[in-house]
Symmetry: C2
Subunit: 412 residues, 2 copies
Amino acid sequence: MVEIDGARLLATLSTLRSFGAVGTGVVRPTFSDEDMAARRWLRGEMQDAGLSASIDGVGNVIGRSPNPGPALIIGSHSDTQPRGGWLDGAMGVAYAIEIARAIGDDPSTCQLAIDAVAWSDEEGTYTSCLGSASFVGELTAAELQHTNAAGETVGSAIERVGLADVAPSRLDPGRHIGYLEAHIEQGPHLEDAGLCVGVVTSIVGIRAMRVTFTGEQNHAGTTPMSRRKDAGVAMFEFGSRIRGRLAEVAGPTTVWTIGNARLEPGAESIIPGFAELVVQFRDPDEAVLAAMETLIVSTALELTGEGPVDVAASCPREPIVPTEMHPQLRNHVSAAAEARVPGEWVEMPSAAGHDPMVIAHHLPCAMLFVPSIDGVSHDFAEDSHDHDIVTGCQVLADAAVSILLDAGSSPA
Amino acid sequence: MVEIDGARLLATLSTLRSFGAVGTGVVRPTFSDEDMAARRWLRGEMQDAGLSASIDGVGNVIGRSPNPGPALIIGSHSDTQPRGGWLDGAMGVAYAIEIARAIGDDPSTCQLAIDAVAWSDEEGTYTSCLGSASFVGELTAAELQHTNAAGETVGSAIERVGLADVAPSRLDPGRHIGYLEAHIEQGPHLEDAGLCVGVVTSIVGIRAMRVTFTGEQNHAGTTPMSRRKDAGVAMFEFGSRIRGRLAEVAGPTTVWTIGNARLEPGAESIIPGFAELVVQFRDPDEAVLAAMETLIVSTALELTGEGPVDVAASCPREPIVPTEMHPQLRNHVSAAAEARVPGEWVEMPSAAGHDPMVIAHHLPCAMLFVPSIDGVSHDFAEDSHDHDIVTGCQVLADAAVSILLDAGSSPA
């Protein structure tokens, strides 16, 4: 049984944190100087771990084991949110390097092939999951035109950081048998339940519905209540009514949010002639998502029927469908968790998006969560306990060995 | 009995409309070239009507009758909204000139003193009711620092239009016994009821309450519903709940509006940590306004008690108190209406603000409304029927004669 070096893992994480450090947080957006410096350092660490490492044409750092396949890819992303935490993405990358080292150092496992990766732009500074999409061959020309907040396209940024002539790395179907990613939970479930490991069952699907309210703008003093077509009145009624209704069709982990709402023209003395809001809802089950969408549409129709304001609901973009983790890979992670921390782990969906949403269409994926303190993420306050970080890495290392031994004796 | 000249009145209005005409609308904001050209033309018309006319130090055009007092001031404002209609303000100014002419032309009334006025900046391009506030001595130094949308102060504008060395006109308590203003209704009540004249009982009071919702910003995916402190949920609930409650304490002409509402930070994937809205409400009765304010505060407290979000209500500024029209002056207008158009007039509050809100603290005021087509105002589509415009002027002329004869036999 391989044993990881917890102190070495934490030291790797501590150095990675220094690239773009701002107080307790990290500011390392994709293709910034700090991001590229971190990637060059990660390439060196991967080489030091015995991997043949390089930065590919979209910024992915990929370290390839010299051993023949079957190989497991382990990793996560090394870019951060505009004001991010030190573990989101970084922890999974540090796990990959530590697991490659530990497995390479152990004579009983040094024949196994671990390829490590630090994906580019998972957070969508330019376009979400840029690196993993490129790796599986799904990156489109349109996505290369996406821009950051300053208006720079992906293509220009790649040129600016000197990667324009570097080929992108691609999934090798003859070699790669699966992808493992560890991540902080970003929610409070594990901490609340006193558990130290989450084995991800699926990444939730996300849908959004834009609801518009079309009334008639008018003078807020001289227009009698009985003659008003107040778009705001309909919006408040919709917001209040939809809440209880969605609760009725929700599953145990369903979430829904109205994060955006506005009145037009938005002046104190003018009756709003138009209003809109967006309801976003997430669940691992497509049937639940479909029921919620139906409910939003029917509530809009109901309000149109009741009053003078026209209420309409539509999807502003393609929904993100739920992504199931691969059952066999997942079982290896669960078994490793039960062996290391019996009773202290749980199977759970991921309520946030991750690179496996893109990769799972091409390669079996599994994910492991470690607890987030107070459930905080995407914030300078993001943190996890050291012993949870070390435990998670040990479980993932055990799972990797078990998957590769399994594949070696009976190739997947 | 004096008889006004309807054709002459409409000709005056038609010429006044040409200053700043844009299609069917008028763009004549205070101290614009168009506004000043209109004021110079109005000064000439007042002189032609036999008045001693000038533009005072804040832009008021004031025409003084050569006859000794008691004198009635008649008028309105000649500035418009940024995209205004042709009658708002202008009609009342044209009435003053026509009434001065008609009374002066008639040997039986030519001894009566009518002073005509076109107030400056009623619409608040710089500061609402600038001209009337100056006339009654209520203009403050702070108000002279108010700016238009381009950042120009009242003081700079007065200098720019060449009025810096001109003295402001003042109310003459030994001469002036009252102020009469005619205006379009700006609402649909008269048209709906098939009436041609409204006699204003009072100008409504206006209050506004700012309601804030303080929760906790968080990730819209990873934060379970049970742990959320969603400021938006509380805002929608407040908006929905307050509507029915205000209806219970409202009088027959009360209006209330939520014209402004926002969520922070206003992103689809983020649970709002803060929200706010403004409820504005208008009524002629202070007791009704006070009951509405109490209800808004108690509903905020109730919501704070129910949930995880802190809801608070406060007044963002001094309320505008209701302004009663002067009973005797008002009775003269009502009697004149009943004599000219029996059964076709009504007593009603004004739901919009007007210069008498400022003047009535110093001088008895009365107001007369004529119907607005479809209740539209502050819009290029604003209009009234010619025969209603002429009828309103005749009624106001009759009332002016009756007030002055009354005052002459028993001075006020």
